[in-house]
């Protein structure tokens, strides 16, 4: 195995700037999470075995996510989910899922490095996102568990709403766009954070 310290997450270079945000906005990269893309017929015979592996049924309501404590399962499309799991669990989980699926038509793909994850929280979080995202993240419109794939300024993004007060979000952004995303975020928060 390579020295895990040698790994580099897409926002490694931005950690200081993200850390410097304070007050109404807090942002932190959660690097190296396991992320698996799952394609499956949620009405088919493999759905139950998969649910067993995950400890939770695949969410079938569009634009929602469910968590099982260990896993978080994000609805990406009518037959597509993104499974977030603890760092390092990709190989075992892939095997478990593929076993559960058997010969059913499905696809499991390791996409752990395809996107990086940023936790954005604080009372200014919704306003910050509103500067670049057209989704209504008001708790009335996007309750806890909402999960939208959309655009934030010039990048695609997945937004998971983690509380009922629009102050805690999980953001997933394509790795090659991550630095742009961070630059955008830091610039957007100028009015929302106190000078350090």
């Amino acid at each position: 195995m390579a020295d895990p310290r040698a790994r580099r997450s897409p926002l490694a270079g931005w950690a200081p700037q993200l850390q410097a945000l304070n007050g109404a906005i807090r942002a932190q990269e959660l690097p190296f999470l396991t992320q698996l893309n799952l394609r499956l017929d949620s009405g088919g015979p493999a759905a139950d075995p998969v649910a067993k592996v995950l400890g939770v049924s695949l969410p079938t309501v569009p634009c929602t996510s469910v968590g099982s404590g260990v896993y978080e399962v994000l609805w990406l499309g009518p037959d597509e989910w993104l499974i977030l799991a603890p760092a390092g669990s990709a190989p075992e989980l892939m095997i478990a899922l593929r076993e559960a699926i058997g010969s059913e038509h499905a696809a499991v793909t390791d996409v752990s490095a395809q996107r990086t994850t940023v936790q954005l929280s604080g009372p200014g979080a919704r306003e910050l996102l509103a500067k670049g995202c057209a989704i209504d993240l008001h708790p009335a419109a996007s309750p806890e568990g909402s999960c939208v794939q959309t655009l934030l300024a010039q990048t695609g993004i997945i937004i998971v709403v983690r509380d009922g007060t629009a102050t805690d979000f999980l953001l997933l952004v394509r790795s090659s766009f991550a630095e742009y995303f961070a630059a955008w975020l830091v610039d957007a928060s100028v009015e929302l954070t106190e000078p350090a």
Binding site: R7, F32, T109, A113, Q114, K131, A153, S176, A183, E191
Partner: protein, 954 residues
Amino acid sequence: MTRVAAGGRIDRNTELAFTFDGKAYRGYAGDTLASALLANGVHQVATSICYGRPRGIMAAGVEDANALVQIETPFPEPMLTATTVELYDGLVARGLQGQGRLADLPDQARYDAMHEHCDVLVVGAGPSGLMSALTAARAGARVVLLDDQPELGGSLLASRNQLAEWVSAVTSELNSLATVRVLRRTTAFGYYDDGFVLALEKRTDHLGAAAPPAAARQRIWRIRARQVILATGAHERPVVFADNDRPGIMLAGAGRAYLNRYGVLGGNRVVVFTTNDSAYTAALDLADAGAAVTVVDARTEIPQHPAAECARRGVALKAGHVVTGTSGNGRVTGAHIAPYADGKAGARQGIGCDLLLVSGGWNPTVHLFSQARGKLRYDESLGAFVPGSSVKAVRVAGSAAGVFTLSGCLSGAADAAVAALQELGLSSAPPALPSLDAEPETTPGLVLWAVPDKGDESGPCRRFVDFQRDSTVADILRATGAGLTSVEHVKRYTTIGTAHDQGKTSGMIASGIMAEALSTDKHQVEVASLGTTTFRPPYASVAFAALAGRDRGEIFDPVRVTEIHPWHLEHGAVFENVGQWKRPRYYPQRSAAGSIEDIDTAVLRECRTTRESVGMMDGSTLGKINVQGSDAGEFLDRLYTNLMSTLKPGFIRYGAMCGMDGMIIDDGTVARVSDTEFVLTTTTGNAAMILDWMEEFAQTEWPELRVNLTSVTEQWVTIALVGPRSRDVLASVAAELDLSNEAFGFMTWRDASVAGIEARICRISFSGELAYELNVNAWDGLALWEALIEAGKPYGITPYGTETMHVLRAEKGYPIIGQDTDGTVTPQDLGMGWVVSKKKLDFIGKRSFSRAENQRPDRKQLVGLLPVDRTVLLDEGAQVLATADLSQLPVPMLGHVTSSYRSAALDGTFALALVRAGRERIGQRLHAWQDGELVSVTVTDPVLYDKEGARRDG
């Protein structure tokens, strides 16, 4: 000074200093530049564009298009109207003559944008808008209320504190509700589809130099509203008469606003010229403030109430009279009045005055309604267009709907809100209406566009319709005389309505004058049928920078980078933009003396090292798509020109894709992972397009195929390790892997641990050399890169960029899609007939190959070109000619040079070109023409290096 002693909404405790046209003045917080200038007795603000006439302040709001100023401090900004500039300390401005000046200084101000969502958007916070917003807010709806003024109240602000308590109570109630957002200084300027309203908030302009630098100066609000209530009020309309443009002539409502809101009495001897009741309020207010007022009413009958009120104050009344002209040198000094009957003015008589207020009635502010595709209806009695149809989710309330009584506005606005709430499924109890003094019965006004003029229209007396464009009644008459019968033609012929005004004050009048001009005894042309010119966004002008927002500089467009980017930066790579990606183009070396290699030297060095020993390249930007499913092979067969279903797991095949038209659109490799899984690559620039293209077929054409596509472009870092010593380098870090040709052959892949990192290694080559492409989880990419650099040191390994990659592949005659092709090139044209399956019945594009044009023997084909003088580098884009005779233009062209390089391996320059019937011409001498110079070239096979392919196995 013309500031009255007390009253108005200005803050007399906060004095502000400003400079206009080089002179220092003082005003108060709450002033606009216009009101402050008037308070200082400055009436002439600007000069007219064509005729150089002095021009003043005509209105008190956005509809003024006359008092054009250039702001100089804190930052130059052209072409604002003094009526929309809030006064701040240190303001420096000057009047303009029709054109503004852009400053060649970087604008350091910040701008941003904000998305907002609401149940009910209310535009305009006059009594109507306040009532609508309050009704909606009390029902619990999410409400946005916006108004372009710094204070809520709308036209009430121009009154003598009418409903002031109600306004402040409503304001504080709205401000206190979490469900309500009140935006002041915010102009809704565009109504787009589905309740999408764009608004501009001026956040710091009124602070001048005190504006916090971090704060966005202006913000675009992108508001998505489920229901919209337009309570935008009405604009007063002037009447046109000769010399109506002098400073000191303004709209009656404006005269009243300056007095009541800003505490400025615009003149002491005031003539009020009106055609309707509304201007009497102004006349009475100004008289009460001490002005000597004469009302000139075009109507013969003056309604009882205003007449009585005038009499009470000693306001002189001239019924059945009109103003036919004015005198003055600069500011107005007199009005010419004349009896008016049967559309004709009689003998004129002068009245001295220093302020002439005009009212020709009111035009409901229907711009946004019209942008929302609402149809307008001409209201004969108003002489104006009013909303005439219903538009889904849009309601118009108050004066904007043609309602001009306060009580009517309030109750109508509450009704509009109730109706909107009903659509939203919210029940509501409309708030009680504030108690009002009884409003006098109004009598209809007289619709009068322009006072007839006996003078010479081309002479100095001009009846101005559009002040900013200096367009006159004569211009309209000239246009209709030329045969123009459409308001749109007259607009363009006269330029009326094409300046800031955008028809707010001039449009209606122009239509009216046109109708009269086109009417004959036999044929009456109705204003209703002429209509107005089209209302278009923006309702009021918006700075370009505000629209650009924060999408500038560093974050104008995403810069996409790979995980190895920090290393490239550290090692002095020169980058190339490839789409949004930054890719190293080459890595110039710095000599001990500090000089930096030029591109040619660096690339020759990189090429030589790679061909002779080993080089490596960051290829992570390649698009990568994971394809899974039992029909994956069949699916790929339909998309690629060659067969993919026959590929065995563990093997790799080069593949090309064509569009429906048979033209090559992309190429790459396809690796089979298992029976049901493939991973394919696309070119960097086409990654997204190709995934979309494949998804479209998978989902829409062949949904029966069991196949799933997932982008894994960024999952993998891809490193090409290239050159005869690549095997040695790899062997030193992948000890467990048997790298012999027998165990690990060309076009196969293996999973192995490389420098302790799990990698998928593909034996493919884009250079003709022995080469490996290593794919690892992107997080490990940098570590692997560094390990390989380290392992390659004994062999003098070099990193190389896109330029070297291009040279190496071109020496081998491998085309780059998009460089050696341009959307008009088939695989056959590229000499790649071998990639087109003969076995498959069909694949995308196949049918197009048999079209007449594709069968022509003289199609352009990819060939190599060797300059006769091998030190001459051809220009990419040079044209290929058969003849050296340039005496006759046009010169027939055979094709063009697509790629051209200096080659270390070929010891000279070479090029690839698309040439008509190129393959037949191999061996021929042709000419390349570039920027006037002819270069002799020999046509060759495109493969110039290692034709036998001896090097790829090392």
